[in-house]
Subunit: 388 residues, 2 copies
């Protein structure tokens, strides 16, 4: 029973480093810059920041995003191929409502972001898992699933994936698989929903090309976000894709009625970005999260036995660990928590079975010194489990 | 073809008073107060305003709303019976996704808010109109529709209505009809979606009780909003209802994944409200919009022939006009625009046929002096049409 109104989602137990939370570190958020941007937006935009916004999104932010995307990705979304969203979660929800029919078959990498699955399950779809590994979605598994559907006289309408700095595995889909995936989507006429939320958090600032930028047809819709690069509370992202699909989003009842997504926050973020604050901020984030990831990986290299597989990411928030049989995550979690470290068990990220020996560790919320201690506690728990 | 990114939704033709736009006047928005609230929130809440928000919404705003609603409406939503939304449009969209199944029958007053119909049509529902008049939804018409459905072995799942300061007619559902509607909803087990966006804009500050506050069962979910009382660009509202339904919204994939709706804007509005700024602001709005409505009605009383019905509202943004046969709105509009005044033809607000002799005029966007001129132009166009 609730007996008060919490302010934020995060709840931490004292004495526990909870590496379950895939949240950005509040200490790394540009609070002073955003405070100044709110004042600057008020001066620059006046009443326009409070009015019903343009349906596709606040013009000043769209213009900045279009220029940045064209420069960084070598593909221009154009005026009609981009819209502002209320974050990737709401963007995914709108895609589900507006671009797919009840009964649609939606392919989902497995493992995948568990809350995206929850969003998809809020819609009347049939979800079908496709296996993924340390190079992302397995193309052979995808072909097999599609062939199986074809034998049943059925067809997939959409595929949801996180090809870049994957949640939960941290993996990147290889370039070869990216090409193959796009070709298969074209051949089988399904829409790839590319959740690209970690693109700006490449540790060495060389993320792989987005599926959207590689697509020569119109088979990819890509969701980008300020949740990790600025702040999740803003609820602000963007979507790039085929102008016909973007128009169906911009011409939806929700945006016709309420105006563009989160107009006020979008205008403040536009003032932030146009003041040249975004690139230096995100460069400092890349350095900070790279150091955190490295701290965790380096500690594990020393502390963990060789038969434990640690997938070290090149960007994003997550380190994925596979334990050897017969060790099981379900047995590890209580031991780890008793030692003051927690995580999300791998099976949470699988549609059906799988992940029983896997662990997702988020290295985003804690500074390196805390992560070093968390790694020691985790290794202690692993050793203890092995002795049992 | 788009060749630039607009900032806002509003587009005005020079020389035309466009009373089609049901928008608040930007000049009446509390820009300086919101600028100060953004700074105050930054000081009061720090990083908490940028983090993933509590799923049901930002605690400080929920606490303020709960207290105000309890005081003004005599019913306490409790901790579990209220959540923040991204405005009424998104609230309605989430209700459609989360609280109804594909194929549901949704009853809609006719006339009704046309963009709500567009939101409902983005979902796989069957919409059935129920006639409304100057006292709101007609109870006999509702009973007839329900009886007709029953004969077909079918049942309505939801009913959408704007019972207070209706869009487009400005009408209020009478107290007698409110009681009857709630009783019928209980008896027939459908959910009333009460769009209560104009409640704070009662000209004499005595709005009728909300259906939600009158409901002794759990048949009403009520959508409230800051769009008219503060600013539409904020994209911020709330929903009150049965805790089980509110939980299904707060426990949705979208909010589990992205945190509470528009957390950053919600925290700034919380700072605005908690500083005691809301009540004096909304009192000044009530006075301003009352004066605008009165200006239009008074001018029409002098200028328009007696056989033209002008429905004078007690709150909200809209004046509704019914022309006598054989006059038709389709013939009036070009004449009015030629004289420099515009409006939305009544038929836009009807699900199927209806409204061919009706006109919606929004008196919200223009100051009284402009409305006086607009009324004269409108009356001239009416006289011209009569002579044809």
């Amino acid at each position: 029973m609730i007996n008060s109104f919490p302010t934020v989602q995060l709840v931490l137990q004292p004495g526990v480093f909870d590496l379950g939370w895939g949240h950005p570190d509040p200490k790394l958020m540009p609070m002073e810059g955003m405070r100044q941007a709110a004042s600057a937006a008020s001066e620059q935009f006046g009443a326009d920041m409070f009015a019903y916004g343009n349906a596709a999104g606040a013009g000043p932010l769209l213009a900045w995003l279009r220029e940045r995307i064209t420069q960084n990705e070598g593909r221009d979304p154009g005026f009609g191929g981009i819209a502002i969203t209320g974050g990737n979660s709401l963007g995914l929800d709108q895609i589900c409502t507006l671009l797919a029919k009840p009964g649609s078959i939606v392919l989902v990498e497995s493992p995948t972001y568990h809350y995206a699955v929850k969003i998809l399950r809020n819609h009347p779809f049939e979800l079908v898992p496709v296996a993924a590994d340390h190079n992302g979605l397995q193309i052979e598994a995808l072909e097999a699933v599609l062939a199986d559907l074809k034998r049943q006289g059925r067809q997939a309408q959409m595929l949801y994936c996180v090809p870049t700095y994957h949640n939960p595995t941290g993996a990147c889909l290889s370039l070869e698989r990216r090409n193959a995936l796009i070709e298969i989507a074209q051949r089988n006429s399904f829409l790839i929903i590319e959740d690209d939320v970690y693109r700006d958090l490449s540790y060495n600032n060389t993320p792989p090309p987005s599926l959207w930028s590689m697509d020569r047809g119109s088979n990819v819709i890509r969701l980008g976000s300020f949740a990790k690069s600025l702040a999740p509370g803003l609820r602000l992202g963007w979507v790039t894709g085929d102008p016909d699909r973007i128009w169906r989003i911009a011409d939806s009842g929700v945006l016709d009625s309420g105006g563009g997504s989160n107009h006020y926050a979008a205008m403040i973020v536009a003032a932030f970005c146009r003041a040249g604050r975004f690139e230096p901020h995100v460069a400092s984030l890349r350095a900070a999260y790279a150091k955190r990831s490295h701290t965790l990986s380096a500690a594990f290299q020393t502390l963990l036995p060789d038969d434990i597989e640690v997938i070290t990411p090149q960007g994003g928030f997550f380190t994925w660990i596979n334990l050897p049989a017969p060790m099981a995550t379900a047995d590890l979690l209580p031991l780890a928590e008793a030692h003051g470290v927690s995580f999300i068990p791998g099976k949470k990220f699988f549609l059906h079975q799988g992940g029983e020996r896997s662990v997702r560790l988020a290295h985003s919320l804690y500074p390196p010194e805390d992560l070093a201690v968390a790694a020691e506690r985790f290794a202690t728990a692993v050793q203890q489990l092995r002795k049992q």
